[in-house]
């Protein structure tokens, strides 16, 4: 878990840690009201529940909580009159710098020495050859039974299995509205009227439904209309077009 997602339930705030940070940084929440100790407790509890220490996350948490503590201490403590941390005197500064320079020099010179060793060492080339085959396998005398014979029988069983038929249930037949419109128009051109059940009774349900939908579309365009004498009775589809020429263009 990322530290940012650490869920907090404090007196003054409840929500994820990163929201708390955002609110504090935008001055929408005063750090003075937040008990930072509670956040630490929440984090330790979270660690306890997790059972293992994610070092990256723990480091991130330490950095964040440390900066919050620093911010808060600045808020709570009176500002110093002037910078109380006096700069190092020239003597101390020189000593500190000297110590660091000496430390660096030691490794710089050791580095020069290593570079010489490297230049000398890389003239030697070593053999890079695989071991001869007999040495790459277990010796017969030392060999112990470490494999399960069962494994071979299972593998053979796997090989005897023929693959199941491919599952095609996810492939759905498609019925094109365009195609159904063409069929309806063709029927009307031939006979001016037809019985829906006679024409489409043997089609599957999807085709029937799309055909019905196509019929509604034609009705809307003024191409077709229908009669149904009684509920669930036969439907007679008729052309609503007076002039044949306008069929297909009547919108």
């Amino acid at each position: 878990m990322r530290v940012a997602d650490l869920d907090l339930d404090l007196d003054a705030f409840s929500g994820p840690f990163d929201l708390l940070l955002a609110l504090v940084l935008r001055d929408e929440l005063s750090l003075a009201e937040i008990a930072l100790g509670e956040i630490v407790v929440a984090y330790v509890e979270h660690l306890d529940a997790e059972g293992e220490l994610d070092l990256e996350a723990a480091t991130e948490f330490l950095v964040l909580i440390a900066s919050l503590l620093e911010l808060k201490s600045r808020l709570l403590l009176p500002a110093p009159e002037e910078d109380e941390i006096s700069p190092l005197g020239p003597e101390e500064a020189a000593d500190e710098l000297l110590a660091r320079m000496l430390e660096y020099r030691r490794y710089r010179d050791a580095a020069a020495h290593l570079s010489e060793l490297f230049a000398a060492g890389r003239r030697y080339m070593y053999r890079r050859a695989p071991l001869p085959a007999p040495l790459r396998r277990a010796s017969f005398d030392a060999a112990e039974a470490i494999y399960e014979p069962e494994r071979l029988a299972v593998a053979l069983g796997d090989l005897l299995r023929t693959p199941p038929r491919p599952d095609t249930s996810h492939i759905r037949p498609t019925v094109s509205l365009e195609r159904r419109l063409d069929v309806l128009r063709e029927l009307l051109r031939r006979g001016r009227a037809f019985d829906f059940d006679d024409a489409f009774g043997s089609e599957d349900r999807l085709t029937q439904a799309v055909t019905l939908f196509a019929l509604l579309e034609m009705h809307k365009r003024g191409e077709a209309t229908w009669d149904q004498g009684e509920t669930f009775g036969p439907i007679t589809v008729k052309s609503a077009v007076r002039s044949r020429e306008s069929v297909g263009e009547g919108t």
Partner: protein, 192 residues
């Protein structure tokens, strides 16, 4: 280079090269004539004759190479041979099962049963000494059988102690011969 005797340079080259090196290759690398390489190899062959040192000069497969004295094999095994018995992969287990139950069996047959090229698994099994070539099929393909080491590593008293695959057989009612059924199942898988 000039001061270094040619036979020493040849020794260094053969020492470094994992593969045998031919006389023309040596001559080119050393920028000397093939006759000089020949002479150097003669000298080196005297010094590194079998029994003289720990390393011997060998003439194999169109070139020269250095090898450890065979007398050192036993101690070398003690020092270097970590038993090469890692768990079998599924591909290796399948190939090994096919060889174990059908032996002798050819590589094309193994591939047909598994439905995939099985060269690498067969190679590894051969390398580890679990299977070995036992001749050629009528069509010239290498045929394989299991080795005594295989029986050792599987704790089998003999090949007839192999477990009955019927228990793991998804189509036990089918009474045809195992080989035929495996081939048929493999072809169906490949036909997808």
């Amino acid at each position: 280079m000039s001061a270094k005797p040619v036979e020493h340079l040849v020794e260094a080259l053969l020492f470094l090269s994992p593969e045998p090196v031919s006389i023309p290759e040596l001559a080119e690398a050393l920028d000397v004539t093939e006759a000089e390489v020949d002479r150097a190899l003669d000298l080196l062959g005297d010094v590194l004759a079998e029994g003289k040192r720990g390393v011997v000069l060998r003439h194999v497969g169109g070139g020269y190479t250095l090898a450890a004295d065979p007398a050192a094999e036993e101690v070398a095994r003690r020092l270097l041979s970590k038993p090469k018995t890692p768990p079998l992969t599924q591909a290796q287990a399948e190939c090994l099962a096919i060889v174990a139950y059908l032996q002798p069996v050819s590589r094309p047959e193994i591939a047909r049963i598994r439905g995939v090229n099985s060269e690498s698994a067969v190679g590894t099994l051969t390398e580890r000494g679990l299977i070995e070539e036992s001749g050629r099929s009528r069509f010239g393909a290498a045929v394989y059988r299991t080795t005594p080491l295989f029986e050792r590593l599987f704790g089998l008293a003999g090949l007839d102690s192999l477990p009955d695959p019927a228990r793991f057989d998804p189509t036990p009612e089918d009474e045809r011969e195992l080989r035929e059924r495996l081939l048929r199942a493999g072809e169906q898988r490949a036909g997808d």
